[in-house]
Amino acid sequence: MDLKLKIWRQKNANDKGKMVDYPISNVSPDMSFLEMLDVLNNELIEKGEAPVSFDHDCREGICGSCSLYINGEAHGPDRLITTCQLHMRTFKDGETITIEPWRAKAFPVIKDLVVDRTAFDRIQHAGGFISVNTSGNTIDANAIPINKADADNAFMAATCIGCGACVASCKNSSAMLFVGAKVSQFALLPQGQVEATDRVLNMVKQMDEEGFGNCTNTGACEVECPKGISLENIARMNREYLSASLKG
């Protein structure tokens, strides 16, 4: 396949940046999207040009590093996958593909397609944990029976890979699907109840301070989420937050 790539190039955080066109040929439909970029980069390096920087690591859809906005959608047009799992057979020969970084004030660009997502980490520092010492001297694991449906729902929420596609897709750059998933995981488990009030208040406070927008329930995040995290998690966070506000 021959393709025309339009890629966002930006030298560093202070650079203005612009879209640059790159033609690429002999792309195999079996390549993953990132392998196609590898090929482009190899060509650029051997020509003496600067390769395109992008975040990537596991290349099997679980680490959450890759983060490309492809043809107007986070992780490209396919569903329930990350960019590294997107294959070139999804595109047509001769197609123009626009590749941009996640766009959000809370995710500033570091270089080209690489953005800084440490805002997510800081939200977790504020309360994304259960305060239990890691001494191993806790009660036996089976001393806390948990309803299977709750455990399964907590797991579904916990499968979030923190890639930021929710923020990138949201017209408001809201992080509520991410925070909602984390709040939900603990809200659904008995272990999480003790600190439930402080957790949701602190995490939401940090989320707001990071400069993410507000949720207007468009549902774009749920559709683009590579792990299919449900909007129910946002509703659950809203409930948790409101009841915590009344208590706190």
């Binding site: 030298k11 560093n12 195999s28 079996d30 390549m31 993953s32 990132l34 392998e35 196609m36 590898d38 090929v39 980069n41 190899n42 650029l44 390096i45 051997e46 040009e49 390769p51 920087s53 690591d57 596991c58 290349r59 099997e60 859809g61 679980i62 680490c63 329930l80 996958i81 799992q85 294959h87 057979r89 570091i110 270089k111 440490t118 980490d121 520092h125 309360g127 994304g128 944990f129 259960i130 239990v132 890691t134 191993g136 806790t138 009660i139 036996d140 694991a141 089976n142 029976p145 948990i146 455990a151 797991f155 916990a158 499968t159 890979i161 923190g162 995981q185 603990f186 488990l189 999480g192």
Partner: protein, 665 residues
């Protein structure tokens, strides 16, 4: 220097308890004055960082990813072993210990493995308390599944994402300490050297991957939880960034490197599709519970399948060779990983591989569909003679068990595995070898520790499924926090370590020199070009089966390639910016040294054991021949070039297990 493994005296079941009762402790007020550096934030590094911070030490944690949560532990699928015996099927600490030593082909250290089995149960308690959502039964209690090569059901899991859930648990424990200011987290930082002061590890040199700044960081002890080196093969199931650099720099500073040739090749991965391939994808071992592995019996059918004139589903039962069931009737498709991988290679080498490259075998679920389907039809009082209905019902059952894996396969290969058998081939997955450590997990450099996959200690020559997660968390949560305290007890009066010393200066200068060389080299080929070539040498000559001739030529070729790399590599950009090529170049430079030591280690080990198989040492049926005189750990001391490395042997004694022939027939 003779290796001292510092194994405590006494009966094996009391060693760890006695040890803990007699070590020196650091009082809480003094812990505040002690700094610990932890490099790597996977299961081992992350859990160690959280625990040490909780104990009161000042922890500085480093990872090259943009967040600790992205360490490659996250990709582990199947599960984590623990001798809980919740199923009441006869599991015990001893049995887990026994299975691990036997699975490791009697090449691991008894005392370490026993301790691992002992603390395994704590891990599960700990993780549940942290809110890790393990799979549960309808009664609300934890569920278990079975894993390859053992006779009990002791694997705890969270769907096919156990590693992710455990890592997020450790990450959440870290977050708590980061929030409290007890861990200072350095994301996107790569460790480029260990700094020794008066013979002790006292700091590291790092490069900030965002702006290229070279930084000095000091501490009273340095811990490496930097994972394995499978990427020396270029293609592996490791993440793109997984590297040996931290461990290799430690090696160069005096830490012995143990058993580099012990590599686990995982039998069920998605085959290579072309030259563009950047990494390989694992399909969980659990698939072998229900899938049957086969290739065609006749060459003509192989040809037809490759030409796509014959579909695998059209091939009659009697024309298929279920080679694992044929060769190992007792264990069948559930033989351990090393055995399954070698058998796949044997068939492919003999010309029976089923894809265009000739390197693939089938993993077929057709009979599982029918078996489960019949069961369902019976349960639901439907017509179990209706083949289409039965298949459909069976597919639903399989979908419930492995749906995400089937979906992943379809996305990558573009074939529906419900309709046609999966194609799989072995791929490099885990490295049992690593930095040599004693019972305290300390390397041969005082104050320098290695934990998790980065060390060599627990898995011998072959790791059992679901044991890597167990080891990472055991080391980080429950072992290192004790052993490091014993060492740091001597440091309570040391005070802060200055970075304005000659030692730091020299180490930094060396790092800068290396970077300058790479940046100013102006060669003709990209880093990947060299990495791919290294990978090819490794796979062809140090892969699933090795022999003297190939290993010798690998040593020469790698050393030549290394020279060529330093002369001809092209690294674009500058040193003072985000420059992934520069980071990669440094990593590949280290792989080019490790690769040679790997081959050298494989060459000296004139036997076959676990993941190390030498063509010269096999039975007439092609089984591994283990030798008593090689019952040792080979620990290599750095002496400049890899070819000059000096071999030290730690002899392994088995007092609690009788060393037997591993047979799965």
């Amino acid at each position: 220097m003779a290796l001292d493994s510092k194994i405590p005296q006494g009966p094996i079941k009391d060693k760890w308890t006695d040890y803990k009762n007699h070590i020196d402790l650091v009082n809480p007020a003094n812990k505040r004055n002690i700094d610990v550096i932890i490099v790597g934030t996977g299961l081992a590094g992350g859990s160690a960082a959280a625990t040490l911070a909780e104990l009161g030490y000042n922890v500085k944690a480093f990872c090259f990813q943009d967040s600790p949560r992205r360490a490659h532990s996250i990709a582990a699928q199947g599960g984590i072993n623990a001798a809980k015996n919740y199923q009441g099927d006869g599991d015990s600490t001893y049995r887990l210990f026994y299975d691990t030593v036997k699975g490791g082909d009697y090449r691991s250290r008894e005392a370490n493995v026993y301790r691992l089995a002992e603390v395994s149960t704590n891990i599960i308690d700990q993780c549940v308390a942290q809110g890790v959502p393990f799979a549960r039964e309808y009664g609300g209690l934890l569920d278990n599944r079975s894993f390859g090569g053992v006779l009990v059901s002791r694997t705890f899991y969270a769907a096919g994402q156990t590693g992710q859930q455990l890592l997020l648990g450790a990450y959440s424990a870290m977050n708590r300490q980061i929030g409290r200011g007890k861990i200072k987290m350095y994301n996107r930082h790569e460790m480029l050297d260990v700094v020794k002061v008066d013979g002790k590890a006292r700091g590291i040199i790092t490069r900030n991957l965002i702006n290229g700044e070279i930084e000095r960081h000091s501490a009273h002890a340095v811990v490496l939880g930097t994972g394995g080196y499978g990427n020396v093969f270029f293609l592996s199931t490791n993440a793109m960034g997984s590297n040996v650099t931290a461990a290799w720099k430690a090696h160069k500073r005096g830490a012995h490197f143990a058993n580099p040739c012990y590599t686990q090749i995982h039998p069920t991965c998605i085959p290579v599709s072309g030259d563009h391939q950047s990494k390989l994808t694992l399909m969980s071992e659990s698939l072998r519970n229900d899938g049957r592995i086969w290739v065609p019996k006749h060459k003509k059918d192989v040809e037809a399948i490759r030409n796509k004139t014959l579909k695998p589903t059209q091939l009659a039962e009697e024309d298929r060779d279920y080679y694992l069931e044929r060769r190992y009737p007792a264990f069948g498709n559930l033989v351990p990983r090393d055995v399954a991988s070698r058998a796949a290679k044997e068939r492919s080498d003999a010309g029976y591989g089923v894809n265009a490259t000739g390197e693939a075998v089938y993993l077929d679920f057709a009979s599982a569909f029918m078996r489960y389907g019949k069961e369902q039809a019976t349960v639901r009082h439907l017509d179990f003679n209706d083949e289409a209905l039965v298949r459909k019902l069976g597919q639903e059952v399989v979908k419930n068990k492995y749906g995400n894996l089937f979906q992943m396969y379809e996305k990558i290969v573009d074939e529906n595995p419900y309709e046609t058998p999966m194609m799989i081939y072995p791929a490099v997955h885990y490295t049992m070898g690593g930095v040599w450590v004693d019972y305290n997990l300390m390397t041969t450099v005082p104050g320098l520790y290695a934990i998790g996959e980065a060390n060599f200690s627990d898995h011998g020559a072959n790791r059992l499924g679901a044991s890597a997660l167990m080891q990472g968390l055991a080391d980080g949560y429950f072992v290192l926090p004790y052993t490091i305290g014993d060492y740091l007890a001597d440091d309570i009066r040391t005070g802060p370590i200055s970075t304005d010393t000659k030692e730091f200066e020299e180490a930094e200068a060396e790092v800068r020199k290396n970077i300058d060389h790479l940046i100013n080299n102006n060669g003709t080929h990209s880093v990947d070009h060299f990495h791919r070539r290294l990978g090819k040498i490794m796979w062809d000559k140090c892969g699933m089966a090795r022999n003297e001739k190939d290993l010798k030529s690998a040593i020469t070729e790698i050393s030549e390639l290394r020279a060529e790399f330093w002369k001809d590599v092209r690294v674009p950009g500058t040193a003072n910016e985000f420059n992934e090529e520069l980071a990669k170049a440094g990593r590949v430079a280290d792989f080019l040294e490790l690769g040679e030591l790997f081959a050298k280690d494989a060459l000296q080990r004139e036997e076959s054991a676990g993941g190390h198989f030498r063509d010269e040492y096999q039975t007439a049926e092609g089984e591994a021949v283990r030798k008593k005189e090689f019952q040792y750990v080979s620990a290599w001391e750095y002496k400049g070039e890899p070819k000059d490395a000096i071999l030290h042997k730690e002899h392994l004694e088995y007092e609690n297990i009788k060393v037997k022939e591993r047979s799965y027939k």
